[in-house]
Symmetry: C2
Subunit: 269 residues, 2 copies
Amino acid sequence: MRRSERMVRLVRQLLDHPGQPLSLTEMAEAYDAAKSSLSEDLAIIRSVLESEQAGTLHTQTGAMGGVIYQPGISMGKAEKFISSAVDRLSHGDRILPGGYLYMSDLLSEPAVLRKVGVLFAERFMAESPDVVLTVETKGIPIAVVTAQMLNCPFLIARRDHRVTEGSSVSMNYVSGSDRRIQTMSLSRRSLKEGTKVLIVDDFMKAGGTVKAMMGMMDEFNAKVVGVGIFMETAEPEDKLVSDYTSLMSLTKVDEATRRVVIEPGNYFS
Amino acid sequence: MRRSERMVRLVRQLLDHPGQPLSLTEMAEAYDAAKSSLSEDLAIIRSVLESEQAGTLHTQTGAMGGVIYQPGISMGKAEKFISSAVDRLSHGDRILPGGYLYMSDLLSEPAVLRKVGVLFAERFMAESPDVVLTVETKGIPIAVVTAQMLNCPFLIARRDHRVTEGSSVSMNYVSGSDRRIQTMSLSRRSLKEGTKVLIVDDFMKAGGTVKAMMGMMDEFNAKVVGVGIFMETAEPEDKLVSDYTSLMSLTKVDEATRRVVIEPGNYFS
């Protein structure tokens, strides 16, 4: 196999398996190449990824030596992405009754979602989460792409108890935003004790829903290693959750003047 | 830039943008390369993809010439994937009360989901859907990955009317499986007339839910160009929907003997 062909196969294999250790020995066999040639290929790939600030390759040495592709994004590209999202979302015709903001269209675009996943993966990769947790409904796509980038499964807490999930743990909580009592349930078989959990959601006001997810994780003896929020609201300033990372912060939604003000979130500070 | 470096960047750019036309002219500028060299690179990439039956590159000729990466999977690999999914799902301890099957763990794994997305994209790419539609909750991850592979947005019909979606079109329907009257609603601003829609869902018994989604699309004057189902049930044989593609078919769930029988779906016939 020529080097250029091998490079194509290598890059494809790496990009299709973010966060997953790939064995050098197995790759050398599959590509019928010396490990030393493969190492040279990987060095080129790493240097391109790093020069584009698009992630890196981690190499594990030794007999079981392998390589892990970790997707990344430069702070400059991240800021540009968020600034374009802010522009798109800062329109009066997105204001919904109750001071909500229509964001579903943005979070339905693969290119946008992918970047959200890369941002959260880059921020939380070091905590090595075993699973990404969200609550239905609009957090789900964010959980899916973040889990893709971290190469781990995701979990969806349900708003009601569904027969298709088997026996569940349920808990009631007061949603900070509309002060209603809500229920959240999670299949009993979905989590082992000691699992490291990354919580993600699309929107956070007071943080009641995220706090409920954290309480649910206590019930399962799981450990929350991070909280990633696509859009928080600046008000109330005192959240029920102290430690979280937000990509954007909704500072003002004025229904009368149709004015929307959004700032970059604490991810950038 | 050396060819090997250029190949890395090219492959990365293509794989990150499935289904999306990339301009040869812009790439030539970005990589400071002659179009003829790029064409050679692309020929190598295409030949590797095709030899691995992992998709192909479509080239658009002319001044606006571009290249589109279309992910694919060989029938052999597709069969192997489904056969392994069948094995994992055919366990008595997955049987839930009411003859349901616990599948959430499988559909939470990025590697499994990705293949489901590739299978549906391969099957429906020729219909050029503008959007992938599902109804919450468990169809959502499937819609996300299918939309990724087709490079189009997805839409989520809600089970209730949510304030965060703005004004909505709602419809009632009778779910074929549990004979309850259910409601489905979709934000009015989410769809333009004439949009081509691919419907996906995780599970289909009689097809009441899918039929309701089709009815909803009539309300929007949108055109349903395909229906993709992860798991259908063999019974009832007469579905409310005639034209759909299933990856698997649940033939038998015996709560007493804890026996589960699953066959490959009509995707393979």
